[in-house]
């Protein structure tokens, strides 16, 4: 079996990479270890409205609800409201992630991509250190799939990168460990994505409540693995739901666990190999959101593969067009937000409460950066010291 490209993983990054490669005439195969694309849904299911501009997905079947913005609750319950244009980064739509993934896969297939389900990648085929494809296992059959390029779209637990000699092992402080319900029989009449912060609520992370309808929401928790104890994510999520008057009556129609990398990106290119999506650690370290990067990065990866196959050159230098592209598109943002994440982790509950108290009445749409700083410091002068490093990062980012 020989293809131009074999992609391991049929998530958004894999499907979008596949589609754009196939549209430039490349012969693509996706292998997927699961029995259904998009299932289980390991996701909070929020996505930016930016997706509208990219033209990567058809129809509206994948949209559960439209959001007006986000509300962030500090440990003492002080609420900061962000309009869609401010919060839009992660909270434009709440989606049905299973349908979303299947739509993206369908579009890849329409472009000529082949998919093999129930198929585990078990290793890379190498010839004199050169990658020549992947070894796979489908039920009891083991066989080889030859390809000029292998794409690791195999998610947070990526093995493809490791097999190619890229160190993708995450430190516990760079992983959010998550648990998530779809809760029915609750009341969520407001079109806001809610985030709850605090050491007791979700150490090093947050609880989210993303409404998918009037009486149903995706309710989940992410905590930093370095602050976790066995089973803590589920226990804290259950405690939160029990103590929340709107959610207490809820009954789950889905329960899942997941993990989200919140690290700096890794190297994503070798001779004959690319990494995309969570496997490339293309996640915003502050929010844990990665969908938009998958779509943007996947498109760049697909186009790079198209060029490479056209020229029949598969070396690292040729494929580096992809790494240059994603660094330009969102790499700097991830790097900056990683530094911000590290600083935010040092904020205790008291500082978060002061921050929220300073920001609760700010009209973000109208206020300048300087106005924002003034509002922060006016109420709680001690915040100035805490925020200094943050302001430094943000002013460097503008240069």
């Amino acid at each position: 079996m020989k293809y131009d490209v074999v992609i391991v993983g049929s998530g958004p990054a894999g499907s979008v990479t596949a589609r754009f490669a196939a549209e430039s005439g490349v012969k693509v195969l996706i292998v997927e270890r699961r029995k259904e694309v998009g299932v289980p849904v390991l996701c909070g299911e929020g996505i930016s409205r930016k997706i509208d501009e990219w033209n990567v997905i058809e129809g509206t079947r994948w949209i559960a609800s439209n959001m007006d913005g986000a509300r962030i609750y500090s440990p003492d319950g002080t609420m900061v409201k962000l309009g869609a244009e401010m919060a839009g980064n992660e909270t434009g739509y709440v989606i049905y992630r299973d349908i979303f993934d299947q739509e993206l896969a369908r579009q890849a297939i329409k472009a000529g991509v082949k998919i093999m389900m129930n198929t585990n990648a078990t290793g890379l085929i190498k010839e004199k250190d050169r990658i020549k494809g992947v070894r796979v296992k489908q039920f009891d059959d083991e066989f080889e799939i030859e390809a000029d390029i292998v794409v690791g779209a195999d998610g947070v637990e990526s093995k493809i990168g490791k097999w190619a000699g890229i160190n993708t092992t995450l430190k516990p402080k760079d992983l959010e460990t998550c648990a998530q319900y779809t809760l029915s029989n609750i009341e969520c009449n407001d079109a806001y994505c809610d985030f709850y912060l605090g050491k007791e609520i979700a150490p090093g992370g947050y609880v989210w409540v993303f409404p998918k309808g009037k009486d149903v929401a995706n309710v989940g928790i992410g905590i930093l693995a370095s602050l976790s104890e066995s089973g803590m994510a589920k226990k804290l999520l259950d405690k939160f739901i029990e103590n929340n008057s709107n959610l207490k009556s809820g009954e789950p129609i889905r329960f899942l666990a997941g993990s989200v990398p919140v690290s700096n990106p890794v190297e994503t290119v070798r001779d004959n190999l690319l990494l995309v999506g969570d496997a490339a650690r293309h996640v915003d370290p502050i929010t844990g959101g990665g969908l938009t990067h998958c779509l943007e990065g996947g498109k760049i990866a697909g186009e790079t593969i198209g060029d490479a196959v056209d020229r029949q050159q598969f070396d690292q230098e040729t494929l580096s067009q992809y790494e240059i592209g994603w660094k330009e598109a969102f790499g700097r943002k991830i790097k900056r937000n990683y530094m911000v994440k590290e600083l935010l982790l040092d904020f205790d509950d008291k500082t978060l409460n002061m921050l929220a108290d300073s920001l609760k009445d700010v009209k973000f749409e109208e206020v300048s950066t300087l106005g924002l700083v003034k509002a922060l410091v006016f109420k709680h002068p001690t915040l100035l010291m805490k925020l200094k490093p943050l302001m430094k990062i943000s002013s460097e980012a503008k240069e």
Partner: protein
């Protein structure tokens, strides 16, 4: 005899893959619908035990 090695309870594991991504020994593989730990590679660091969101991994005396 040594420190307890990590062991996955296949009935509790939800196959999220988090343990695989943090294992410094690369000792964990997803086989079928749950994570499997290669005992020979495990160095008893317990990172996976602490991070498991549903408490599906425990130390096991060998």
């Amino acid at each position: 005899m040594g420190k307890p090695k990590a062991n996955v309870d296949g009935k509790k594991c939800l196959a999220c893959g988090g343990c695989i991504s943090v294992c410094p020994q690369d000792a964990i593989l997803m086989i079928g619908s749950y994570a499997n730990i290669e005992k020979d590679k495990c160095n008893s660091c317990a990172i996976c035990i602490r991070m498991c969101p549903v408490g599906a991994i425990a130390g096991e005396d060998n």
